[in-house]
Each structure stands twice: as C-alpha cells, then as structure tokens.
Amino acid sequence: MRVLSFLLLVLLFTDTAPSMGEMLNSEEESVHRQLKAEVEMGSQPRVYFVFDLPAGKILFRSSGITVAEMPIAASRVWGRVPEIKIRSVIEKHSLFAPRRENLAPSPRKKADGGKFDLKALELEDMPKTFQLRLDDGTRISIRSFRPGFFSRLLQFPTDAFWYLTRPLISDWNFFHGKPYTELLISLQPQDVQQLYWSMEEGARCIVHWSPQETRKK
C-alpha cells in the first residue's frame, strides 16, 4: 500500500504528455527566443556559438551567418531544460589543458638544414574532452566520439558511471537549492579540439533545446 501511494505521488508530480497545440506553440516559442537572442548577438561584432540540438549541429556564427559548423555525433541531456537565452561561458575546464609557451629572449637562430624548432600552440595540442560551465549553471560536457563496436563496448563503463552519478549530482544540487542541467555532446575528435580552441571563456552562446528534450533520455 505504501509503495502504491509513493508511486501515485511520483506520477502526480511527473509531467504528462503534452497536447499537439502545446507542442506546436512551445516549438514556435523556442524558435522565437532563439531568433531574438541571435538578432541581439548578431548585432555585435563578435563570433557566437549555437548548439542546435534539433539539427544536430554546433554553429559558429557572426552577423547572423554561419562561418563554420560541426556535426554532433550524439547528445544527451540531463536535468531540466533552461530557458533559451544568451549564455556566457564562465569556465572552460579540462584535465589536460594546453599550456602556452613562454619565450626566452635570445638572438634569432638560423634554420638548421630545413629543420625549425617550432614553439606554438596548435590545434593538436588541444584536449579531446572538456567541460564548459555557463553563467546559468548549465554544464556542457564535450567528448570525442569513437565509432565502432569495440569503442562502444569500452564506452559502456563510462556511460554507466554517467547515468549512476547524474541522479546523485541532481540530488546534491536540489538540496542546495540549485537546478542541475548537463548537456553531453559527442563530436569527432578534431571538432572537439576546434571547439576548445574557438570557445574562450567569456564566449557567448545559445543552446537550442528541442521542446521534447526533457523526455529524451
């Protein structure tokens, strides 16, 4: 009996399926918010980023045009979808963050037999896994996608860990009065590095969630 009443309580608080009208309106509403945010960002002389989850793309945009794009191989959302708004990246975290080289002043050396001691921070120095924290607390975890059966098999423990730990993180945040939303995105390894390179702290972005995102797990 107690179990039954607990389940009834859970059902009472869990959302029911939306009506067709609600779905259409909420889709139009989210497009409206995205467009409003884009017009605001496009009026400024900077590059901004759009995580377009329904289209499965990350877009690098400026002045309302796409200057580069990368396909999302897979994505997963945990937590309540926040309102579509312009967000800033307040932290970019990686275990293997690249370090800039400090140049020591010295007379220019002549190239030796065509060889050149190149001190530079380049694309291949960028990490293949990292996390972005947005100003509304949303976390975007970016990781490399590896196709193939064995890669997926090796990925299984990581996925299991992810699914086991997210509820506990949600609990922790709930008890501290904060919502917790995490977006996990898998990209081709070179795209992960490109995104790390291009998305600096302070960069502005929009996440275009699909209206049904919360139900997609």
């Binding site: 409003k36 017009v39 400090n102 190149l118 506990l168």
Partner: protein, 215 residues
C-alpha cells in the same frame, strides 16, 4: 554473537542499498524534469498566440538576414590556419595562412608582456598598402635579445610583410611572408600571413570596409 553480527551487517547493507536506491530514484525524477509549471502551459495554449509568434519570428528572420554582410567578406579560421573569401555561403577562394602562435613574451626585468594570439571577432579592412614597411615593434627587439633603437626610422624594414598588407586595426594585418614553408602552422605574432598569390587575390577582391570574421 556471530549470527547477531551477521544480521546487523546484512541490515546495514540493506539500509545503505535502500538509501542509495532512493537517492537514485529521486535524482532520476529530478533529472527527468519534474515540471510544476501549470502557468507556462496555460500561456502556451493561449489561442491566437501561435499565429502572432509565427509573424514575429518571420520579422526576426528578416532582421537577422539584414545583418549578414553584403558582398564579399573574409573568414579566418585561426585553428586550421585557413582564410576563406566568401560571398554569402559560397566560398570563392580558400587559402592557407599562418596565424598567431599563442606564445607569451615577457620583457626581462618585468614590465610588459605580449601574448601572440590572433584576435578573434569581427573586423573590417581599414587600410590597403602596397610594398608595406614593417615598423619593427618593441617585442621583436626583445624577442631577439636586441636593444630597442631610439630613432624610430631605424625600425622601418622593407620586404618583411610581402607585397601587400591589409590593416585590420590595433596593429594587426593580413600580409605576405618570407616563411612560406610555415604556411599552415601557427607561427605568427598575431598577424595573418598569406602566400603571395593568395594575398594578391585577396587584395583585389576586398575593399576598405570589407568584413573580416576571425574565429
């Protein structure tokens, strides 16, 4: 004593497992998006709202389209060391470049510090110069361990920037290079270096005011 301990241990494990399961369940419900927003639903279902939204979205789309550059523009990918001459979504020419190395130089004895990054954002071509002179900046002398000249005329060096230079402001240029074998690598001090042919084509295709988008 032993059966009692066993029972207590079992009970402890069961309680811990139960607690863990409850926390997991509660977390799953939170993560699954429990919604209490009846007000939001009522707003979404308001009759006529969908039509007005569609009209507003169309107006916003038009506004966004107006922001796009008219005519040719330049896109610089600093990670891939590529420069694209574009008109709308059509790439007219793809070029290999050298962008900023990301290195840091500090003046010995403290004081000034330079980060050799190519700046990102939106710029415009502010100047077009043929046979530009490189006015060697302080950091170039410091990097090479040379004394900084007092007479500014000593700083002007011909031939270092190739045949042309497109000024983007704040001392940054798209210019030529003597180190063509390093095109495609991040070796510059922040400027964008191009090969002679590509630079010539870019200079011919752009004019003062052409947008340059760097990411």
């Amino acid at each position: 004593v032993k059966p009692k301990m066993k029972r207590a241990l079992l009970l402890g494990i069961l309680v811990a497992a139960g607690l863990f399961a409850l926390l997991e369940l509660f977390g799953w419900l939170l993560g699954g998006g429990i919604r209490f927003g009846a007000a939001a639903r009522a707003e979404a279902e308001r009759p006529g709202r969908s039509q007005s939204l569609r009209a507003a979205n169309e107006a916003l789309r038009n506004k966004l389209a107006d922001l796009a550059p008219h005519g040719v523009f330049v896109v610089v990918d600093t990670a891939g060391n590529r420069v694209y001459l574009r008109q709308r979504s059509v790439v007219l020419r793809e070029m290999t470049a050298s962008c900023g190395s990301g290195n840091i130089l500090e003046e010995p004895g403290g004081g000034r510090k330079w980060v050799f990054d190519t700046p990102r954002g939106q710029f415009r071509v502010q100047s077009k110069t043929s046979n530009p002179l490189w006015v060697k900046p302080d950091w170039a002398y410091i990097e090479e361990g040379e004394p900084i000249p007092k007479d500014s005329r000593e700083r002007a060096l011909p031939g270092m920037l190739g045949d042309f230079a497109l000024g983007l402001g704040k001392g940054y240029f798209i210019h030529g290079t003597m180190y063509t074998r390093l095109l495609g690598r991040n070796v510059s001090h922040g400027c964008i270096r191009l090969g002679d042919e590509d630079l010539k084509a870019l200079v011919q295709a752009t004019s003062i005011g052409t947008k340059v988008i760097i990411f």
